[in-house]
Subunit: 144 residues, 2 copies
DNA sequence: TTCTAAATGCAAATATATTGCATCCGCAAT
DNA sequence: ATTGCGGATGCAATATATTTGCATTTAGAA
């Protein structure tokens, strides 16, 4: 995706190969990735891990990426495409992750409620679901 | 809270001082705490950090505690009181955390949707809101 | 082509979490 | 109250994740 590189330039940050690769990898992945996974997918010569971390932080602060917390040891990152936002569905059994595009993510009532009750201005939210994926559900049933 | 200790015993796990302290601290805290914060609040002699980690894992698997992911470096934990569940509101500016009891946390439609679309059996979810707290909002306004 | 600010690699530091093992302790049976 | 056993703990070592300082390199403007 070339526009990502443009975005870097427009914001006064040099475009480097590493940055382009990270953007591409995030854009192509259906699930959020950890810094380690991202680096693994960059073809050699790979940038140093610290560079990956630094760029992910930069990308988050530029609004190009978002971090996703799935109760794991490390954070994951996803491309922040426009306003489009997805929720995550995580299988507690096999650890598989799926992304879910809510038909009508109506949390606006709750957000309004929060503003009213706490005077807190909500800018975004993070919603993850946990349970058993179709495969694991199947196994479980079958075993009974 | 004595019942927590009972719960341990009933589930075949010896009640120790450390376990009691962790339960008490989580039950008393209005916000989820990191393992480090929990340990700091245990009066001397403090259990070893590894013991705190081990017990938190145990408590999660026994359903006595839940982990909360707030996009930080470490996970936080909260007491899992009955079915009662709270959402978190985090200020991106000052980092303050508030708990929010949703009036009617109606995610059941979304969960049903997930089952229908992915065949995924949702057992629980995690919902966090981010933005600016009343204090920081005020400062920001004042500055204009 | 030249220059400069910013990015990178590398190594070290720090934070977080996990594990092996010897010892200790809760608790149930005596 | 005493005893015995299995699980819990402390401690040290290790693994993993993330951050930082600094010398060197590079992108992009002049």
């Amino acid at each position: 995706m070339k526009s990502a590189i443009e975005t870097f330039r427009n914001m006064g940050h040099p475009a480097t190969r590493g940055r382009g690769e990270i953007m591409r990898i995030l854009a192509e992945s259906p699930i959020p990735l950890s810094p380690r996974e991202i680096r693994e997918r960059i073809p050699d010569p790979k940038p140093d891990a610290s560079t990956v971390y630094r760029n992910l932080s930069l990308m988050v602060s530029l609004g190009l990426a978002r971090s996703v917390a799935l109760h794991e040891r490390s954070r994951r990152y996803e491309a922040a495409m426009d306003g489009l936002h997805r929720h995550r569905v995580v299988c507690r059994r096999c650890g598989s992750i799926e992304s879910f595009q809510p038909k009508n993510c109506d949390l606006s009532r709750i957000e309004k409620d929060i503003r009213g009750t706490l005077g807190f201005d909500v800018t975004d939210h993070s919603l993850e679901f946990f349970g058993a994926c179709a495969d694991c559900e199947g196994k479980q049933r079958g075993r009974r």
